[in-house]
Point group: C2
Chain length 160, copies 2
Amino acid sequence: MSVSEAKIIADLASRLTARGLTVATAESLTGGRVAAALTSRPGSSAYFQGGVVAYANQAKIDLLGVPAEVLALKGAVSEECARAMAEGARRRLGTLLAVATTGIAGPDGGSPAKPVGLVWLATATDRDTRAVGRFFPGDRATVTRLAVRAALELLSEAIA
Amino acid sequence: MSVSEAKIIADLASRLTARGLTVATAESLTGGRVAAALTSRPGSSAYFQGGVVAYANQAKIDLLGVPAEVLALKGAVSEECARAMAEGARRRLGTLLAVATTGIAGPDGGSPAKPVGLVWLATATDRDTRAVGRFFPGDRATVTRLAVRAALELLSEAIA
């Protein structure tokens, strides 16, 4: 973990704890690394309730309630899927906040329309759901690492 | 990730892929790190379906079907809970294999009967469920890292 990522996590932990907020994760390409980041500090059980690593499409449907039509029509790497994942995690875990990641870490699975490095992120709160699309050039580890960082930043913005 | 952990993951990936086996995770103290390890290699979507990070007890009940009585009578850090988590993940994710971790990473949460560093791990397959209790001395990061490694080793034994 980089110093700057540790700083984002420390800041998030401090704000979540002080305000009594709870958070859940819904991860595809990041494979549990956002949850790992959120649980890296002592006392994280005060705000982190849990999360779902939904790698397969069926897991997105079964564990997060992502509509099968979203996956069929828009694909797993889409704004709509990221939004449904965040909302599903928030609902299933009963938290105030949730953050979701879905994307193509590579090296396989890319296409001209959805290249390796494309990532959709979303946060859901009691007010609204916000999604952002990003493109991170690099190898599998780099794409994944940058997606984790972007998820933490988006979560930070959601409670700004 | 250490060289030896990378080797365990590479070996697991190769055997899971060659035999067409699927795997799910159910994690408490490791907070998504076992899923992260299993998805660190390209092609991991062939075997890794997904997992649940069940940090809060309610998440263990809601997302993994751990009986509330197990949590009330034995506690979240127990052989019974580890077994129920692994079986729940296998059932909910529809995989052949599942691996579960639950323990006390510290620095808080320990007691004389259940000290910081106590970890229960379990694997569930179509044949049986196996659990093992371990004690890892060290700080939060060390306990967590050793628990991830133990989970990968137990998974490896389950498909030996």
